[in-house]
Amino acid sequence: MEILVCVKRVPDTSENEIEINSDGNDIERDDLVYSVNEWDNYAVEEAIQIVDKVGGSVTVVTVGDDESEEVLRREMAMGANNGLLLTDDAFEGSDGKGIATILKAAVEKGKYDLIMTGAQADEGAAQVGGMLAAMLDYPYASLVNMIEPAEGKMKVGREIEGGNQEINEIELPCVLSIQTGINEPRYVGIRGIRKVASVEIPELSASDLGLDAGAVGEGAAKVKRVDYFVPDMGDGAEMLEGSTEEIIAKLIDYLKAKGGLK
């Protein structure tokens, strides 16, 4: 099975506190540590496991800049066979539809049976996979937490509310967005990264992809971020202050009053 996995480079929220910059038009990006979107690691792991079972190859693709190459290398260190970097100044300011348009062009340059995305990325949009599928006229299933690989038609499980699982049959080629927990993504060490450090990763521009620059990027975006702000927190929590002993004493009083201690 030929599998394409879309991956996004995102700020690692476990490593960073997210702050708004002084102009209020972006987050402070200077000191951010970046990594692969959490969901995408599950997608790549699943793709590798499928190929281990039924054969084929895994290609990882990202729309980004030079620095995005590192996330492709990381996923290749996990075991993806090929990387593909889609990069062009014309891509800047794309909305979700713009990103999906660029990815569609890359899909059409290859021959893939299965395309995977993460269920969502750092902005919680959960949009690119479903858009890409509709553009390609492929069937789509989101929040997939189980795949039984097969030719022609596959059984997939979708995670729905309450932890229940919705089983579907889906024709290939298709697009699946992968939910966390579907597998346990393998650990990638420094050695693994070193092994793929010198592998050539092809770069494709808008013209390589046959994309009209007007169809992507800021100009084409119907959805635009205007500014960032910190919302009015309302009353928020009463923050307990003082020494640890004082805080614990206050907390225990509250717990007693609210029925939290038996």
Binding site: T13, I18, G130, A133, Y140, K222, M239, G259, L261
Partner: protein
């Protein structure tokens, strides 16, 4: 202004909470614009839901078809594309169904898509300004959306609480316009979640741990605290994804809905999917090392601390009472 539609989610003859929340949300876009509920399904359940919605929405469009008995997003999408005017503004809940349907629907209707909307900030011509959150609620953004050729708007569940407002209207049967509903994805069945060894939905006091617990071995301190308090241990999703605790202990939209008296959120950031599983307005205590963690917006009492140090000290103090 374009026509506004809300997709009504329902199952087993019961409308989802989002069904009426979308009415409230739609009125925030334009208070005077009529809003039409679109209800798909089949049989008596469908008629019941249509009747309920007609008491609230300005109009109801009913699409009755056996292929819609279970809401398969691909089939629903086809029906909507065939029935809705091309420049419609369509509201969906941002849940597992809306995520499945919304992005693709926006492509097929050639309209803009905005996910997980938590607020509206006015319409200027065809430009709608909405509020979103990024990085699990650490920052908010204003986003402008050009609705000139229509828009699909996924609305975060639980934000636009139903306020008993109503317009009222008639049910129109649009089933004949649904068109070809064949699909390349077919629904097979729903497999219910497995029950675990504890039933946290019955617990009065929960010690709930999130990614802040950092390591599987550290779970012990949470169990020790729970034992001292007479509480049960629950958790956020990453703890279950890592297989450190069983799924039945997960609180949230894709886990359990709990109704405790007291909820201790330990190293949990406070994502809406997690908070969506906490009902009954419990007394929430949040302990987090990041003073800006969104959980502090919803907690009653907050403590800025490292849980790995704080939890053992709290346990000891309770044991010494």
């Amino acid at each position: 202004m374009a026509d506004v539609f809300a997709y009504i989610k329902h199952a087993d003859g019961v409308a989802d909470d989002s069904a009426l929340e979308l009415f409230v949300a739609a009125k925030k876009i334009a208070p005077d614009a009529p809003v039409t509920a679109v209800v798909t399904g089949t049989g008596a359940d469908l008629d019941k839901i249509c009747g309920e919605m007609a008491g609230v929405y300005n109009a109801v469009w009913k699409i009755d078809n056996a292929a819609l008995a279970y809401p398969n997003a691909e089939v629903v999408r086809k029906a909507l594309v065939n029935i809705l005017p091309a420049d419609s503004i369509v509201l969906l809940p941002h849940d597992t169904f809306g995520m499945d349907l919304g992005p693709g629907l926006s492509i097929k209707m050639d309209s803009a898509f905005v996910a997980d909307i938590v607020g509206f900030d006015g319409m200027d011509g065809a430009t709608l300004k909405v509020v979103r959150q990024e990085f699990s609620g650490q920052v908010s953004t204003h986003v402008s959306c050009d609705t000139a050729t229509g828009a699909v708007l996924n609305i975060r569940p639980g934000i636009f609480q139903y306020d008993d407002s109503k317009a009222g209207g008639d049910v129109t049967d649009k089933s004949g316009d649904a068109g070809d509903l064949s699909a390349k994805r077919t629904f097979v069945e729903v497999v219910a979640a497995e029950a675990g060894d504890v039933d946290i939905t019955k617990s009065e006091v929960l010690v709930s741990v999130g990614r802040g617990i950092e390591d599987e071995d550290n779970l012990e301190i949470a169990f020790d605290l729970a034992e001292a308090m007479g509480a049960d241990v629950a958790c956020s999703r990453p703890i279950v994804d890592a297989k450190w605790l069983e799924k039945s202990r997960q609180v949230g939209t894709s886990g359990q809905t709990v109704k405790p008296k007291v909820y201790l959120a330990m190293g949990i950031s406070g994502s809406f999917q997690h908070l969506g599983g906490i009902k009954g307005n419990p007394f929430i205590v949040a302990v987090n090392k990041n003073a800006k963690a969104p959980i502090f917006q919803v907690a009653d009492v907050g403590i800025e601390a490292d849980i790995l140090e704080f939890i053992p000290e709290l346990t000891e103090a309770i044991e010494n009472l």
